[in-house]
């Protein structure tokens, strides 16, 4: 096959796969909304996705806020603009780094786990068993995961925003000689509600995409234990790429307004 044909083939495959993934997600949402509902499943996923992701997301946010303060100090002190640091930190965190880093961390942790769990259920025929026992796997397995991820990611990002600012604060006050009150005042000075909200909207979309990739890959898993491993890898890689590309698309949308 020559290079051009291969690129064409890949593009077609990608388009077809994306369409299939999206249809799967929409079908799960449509059926899930019609009920019956499984509150226990949603609760379990809220715990799994939200609560157990707090440490890793918090740690990432803390160090990102810290390094943001340090790096912008290096740059901005060259033209006496250090007082911009609190704004830089809070805007970068809320608009961009909070959602993207939380998204990538959750994609790695939760996307892989979902694909592995559903993949195992597929290859051990548990998904078939659900259907024979009058339970729709899209309603019972997929919908709760989609909903929980869409609820959890914005909350995780809110936490990440706060911890990120705290990280910047720690470095600025204890290392760079800022006054504590001054730093916090400057943090809030230029912050608008839209900055935070745009980040939360991103988080909602990322949550949907991460759970969708995890569920899709697991649900369509083939071929035993190896298949499960491959599904987990595909889920993480796919979700990460989607988080990064949708981040740009959404930023462009918010920017255009």
């Amino acid at each position: 096959m020559n290079g051009l044909a291969r690129i064409g083939r890949l593009t077609l495959d990608l388009a077809q796969e994306s369409g299939a993934v999206l249809l799967f997600g929409l079908e799960a949402l449509a059926r899930g909304l019609r009920g019956p509902y499984y509150p226990r499943q949603i609760l379990r996923q809220l715990l799994e996705i939200g609560y157990f992701s707090l440490p890793v997301v918090g740690l990432t946010a803390l160090f990102t806020g810290m390094v943001l303060a340090l790096q912008s100090y290096v740059g901005f002190s060259r033209f006496e603009a250090q007082e911009a640091i609190p704004s830089i930190v809070v805007l970068s965190m809320t608009r961009e780094l909070g959602p993207v880093l939380a998204g990538l961390m959750v994609a790695g942790r939760v996307g892989a786990a979902m694909a592995a769990e559903l993949g195992t259920m597929r290859v051990t025929e548990q998904i078939d068993a659900l259907e024979t026992l009058a339970t729709d796997p899209l309603r019972y397995l997929v919908f709760p995961r989609l909903v929980a991820a869409m609820l959890c990611l914005p909350l995780l990002v809110l936490v990440a925003d706060v911890i990120g600012v705290l990280g910047g604060y720690l470095v600025a006050v204890y290392k760079l000689g800022f006054g504590g009150v001054e730093y916090l005042n400057r943090t809030l000075d230029f912050l608008e509600a839209g900055d935070v909200v745009s980040g939360l909207v991103k988080a909602l979309v990322f949550g949907f995409l991460i759970a969708l990739m995890g569920c899709y890959q697991g649900y369509h898993c083939l071929g035993g234990a190896e298949g499960v491993g491959a599904a987990a890898t595909r889920a993480v890689v796919g979700a990460s790429i989607l988080v990064l590309t949708m981040d740009y698309v959404l930023t462009e949308l918010f920017f255009a307004r």
Binding site: R44, D128, A129, T132, L133, A134
Partner: protein, 260 residues
């Protein structure tokens, strides 16, 4: 002829994945009250056959009727009507890992609203007792059970709703001969004892002799022989002979090697 009395009637059934056919024109009838066992090599499509009858896999072509209800191309309501009649024991038991044993057993009853939450545990214990398991396993998780116990729990789940038709997918595979025999006895007792209709799959000739009234052999996507279990040993069909007597040499050697 006797199709009017058939509980399950499969006609000209083609099933495949991608462009590869697995079942290539299956005709099979399961009569009221009989126990039919389908034999055939690994990968022959035996599990696919059961799943197609349950409406878990969509057929390419042909017809499957369960008590007269068409499954191929059916609505989800019709599928549910069919599934409600059938209890299935999956190959690896397919117990739900995230639920304790007792919730596994009554899962279908709860999902169909045929049992209140309050009576569920009681009902689960009764079903477990029928397969010879005591109350002490009720709160364990599937991962903590041995293979034989998992099969028993799977059997309890399949019969908990007292369905009229039972499917068993390799019920004794992976078990030692003693545990396998115990499972065979349980199957016999539920099928004969309750007068149920059963469709099973097995490689295990001891199991076939124990649970079958009638045997059908699946080869290259078709039923190449069927008859009463007593005739299986002297079928006069070289494929069946080779399979039943477990010989490496015979008409199937070449294609088995070819299929890899």
């Amino acid at each position: 002829m006797s199709e009017a009395l058939a509980r399950i009637a499969v006609r000209g059934l083609w099933v495949g994945f991608g462009s590869k056919p697995v079942l290539r024109g299956i005709d099979l009838v399961l009569h009221e009250g009989e126990s039919l066992v389908v034999i055939g090599a690994s990968g022959a499509g035996k599990s696919v056959l059961l799943k197609t009858i349950l409406g878990l896999i969509e057929a390419w072509e042909g017809s499957v009727r369960v008590d007269g209800i068409e499954v191929v191309g059916a609505s989800s309501a019709a599928r549910e009507q069919v599934r409600e009649k059938i209890g299935m024991l999956f190959q690896g038991a397919a117990l739900f890992d995230s639920l304790p044993v007792w919730e596994n057993v009554v899962f279908g009853l709860l999902a169909r609203g045929r049992l209140a939450r309050g009576e569920a545990r009681e009902a689960a214990l009764a079903a477990l007792a029928e397969v010879g398991l005591g109350g002490e396993v009720a709160d364990r998780y599937p991962a903590e059970l041995s293979g034989g116990m998992r099969k028993r729990v799977g059997l309890a789940r399949a019969i908990a709703a007292d369905p009229e038709i039972l499917f068993f997918d390799e019920p004794t595979s992976g078990l030692d001969p003693i545990r396998a025999d115990a499972i065979n006895q349980l199957i016999r007792r539920t099928v004969r004892g309750r007068g149920r209709t059963a469709l099973s799959i097995s490689h295990d000739m001891a199991s076939v002799r124990k649970i079958a009234d009638r045997v059908a052999m699946l080869y290259e996507g078709r039923i190449i022989w069927e008859g009463p279990v007593e005739r299986m040993e002297h079928s006069g069909n070289p494929y069946v002979d080779q399979f039943v007597h477990g010989r490496a040499e015979g008409p199937m050697t070449a294609s088995v090697a070819g299929a890899g």
